[in-house]
Symmetry: C2
Subunit: 232 residues, 2 copies
DNA sequence: ACCCATCCTTGACAATAATCAAGGCAACGA
DNA sequence: TCGTTGCCTTGATTATTGTCAAGGATGGGT
């Protein structure tokens, strides 16, 4: 396989601290592939044969039960997904599909585990990434249990605004049906929630969101670093 | 400190694979303490100075926002909590309080991190534990997003039945107010939910639950290994 | 036995969210 | 231009869940 493809990988925090030899071992059996949008990459319940790394594009993690389906998270470059299943050699708990044309690296789980045992820098990076993932799911659970859907939307908008640089106007990164599912509500309710937020200085036109009154929406949303992450 | 106190620790999967020397290093600055019930051990937002291990009793993890509070999980012997905060040297995302008289080991986070780098067996055990924690929060999030409160209760009862050995009658491990919070509902609603489950062969008398018709409640609850864990 | 506290349950009601059924609107191709 | 399609919105209705207020039941403690 062409080495150049793996340059982005090498620069990932997850791989940057490991020895060259081990990195080479790791990617020997790996490959990078381009996928179109809306392709299911992994299905929940399957054995976790590969650690996946999103190099470009974006991937949605979702889960289903009893005929229902919900969006769990969005994975953006450059980060991994289903690391926990890889480490425990257990079935995936979530399915994954590309949201758009995406470049994905696939690294055999077995190699990840075996090199973990031989490379301290890699081990340290894995545990760091995993701890971060854990904390982000905990935050998500707090968001779900402590806030109403309107509050979740308000805080989501503030997070997204921050993620995109903090300007008062920004674009929603995916369609509203998906956003509704991510926030744990129906598309109909999301529509109404957007309308309710007008009263707090938020305007939506298509996928364009404008925060007319930052202080007002923040007063309503009450964002917390312990749920929404640090302002950094 | 008396070595004998740490025997239980040594046998924990988290510590059993590490070298004696490192284990000794780790517990040198650690201590074990007995707490009465209802004592707050850590508060969310505080720096994670110690990794906590529940040796006996039980601990509730909970979180608050905007005057509300919710129960996130129960930690039973012998396992750790707030491992992720320890690893990332970040503030706790959850508070913890003893549910009953409990024996807790406190291990300085700094030592956990430094020995992680020197002991491969320990590193492997940490990442394993953390991956398990991650998966359990993901399962919890799926439970919350994909199921109604009645379905959550039904599945909780089946999990608890299994955890206690599988007999058709068992005791709820804590009061109903706490259970309601854990399941993301109000105590009033929990009462009504229990009543609704009578139609599916579940009887409750105080904290004693009796499954009259196992097949019936399972047909309603539709437990899944990808949410409720494996039947093992 | 009595009081008292705690915990749980109930009922009436309100708020929140989901469902169902239309409809609007922009983009696209014929 | 016209139809079609997909996506989103709206309104009406129902379902689910939360809130408030009141009332058992239970188990101390005196």
């Amino acid at each position: 396989m062409p080495d150049s493809q793996f340059d982005d990988l090498r620069r990932l925090p997850l791989f940057s601290a490991m020895e060259n030899l081990h990195f080479d071992d790791l990617i020997r059996a790996s490959y990078v592939q381009n996928f179109p949008g809306q392709i299911e990459l992994v299905a929940e319940g399957e054995p976790a044969d590969f650690l996946h790394v999103v190099l470009s594009g974006s991937v949605e993690l979702f889960a289903g039960w009893n005929g229902r389906e919900t969006s769990m998270a969005t994975v953006r470059p450059i980060s991994t997904f289903i690391l926990a299943a890889t480490i425990r050699d257990a079935p995936y708990l979530m399915s994954a599909r590309t949201l758009e044309k995406s470049r994905i690296a696939l690294i055999p789980s077995q190699d990840v585990r075996s090199i973990f045992d031989r490379d301290g820098g890699f081990a340290r990076a894995i545990v760091d990434e995993l701890a971060q993932c854990y904390r982000s799911v905990v935050r998500n659970a707090k968001d779900l249990k402590l806030r109403s859907s309107l509050e979740r939307l308000a805080n989501y908008l503030l997070r997204e605004q921050r993620r995109q640089g903090g300007a008062s106007a920004f674009e929603l990164p995916f369609d509203k049906k998906r956003l509704a599912s991510l926030l744990g509500m129906t598309p109909e309710n999301l529509s109404r929630a957007f309308k309710s937020l007008q009263a707090y200085g938020v305007d939506v036109d298509g996928s364009r969101v404008t925060i007319r009154d930052q202080a007002d929406i923040e007063r309503f949303a009450k964002p917390s670093p312990l749920i929404d992450g640090l302002p950094t």
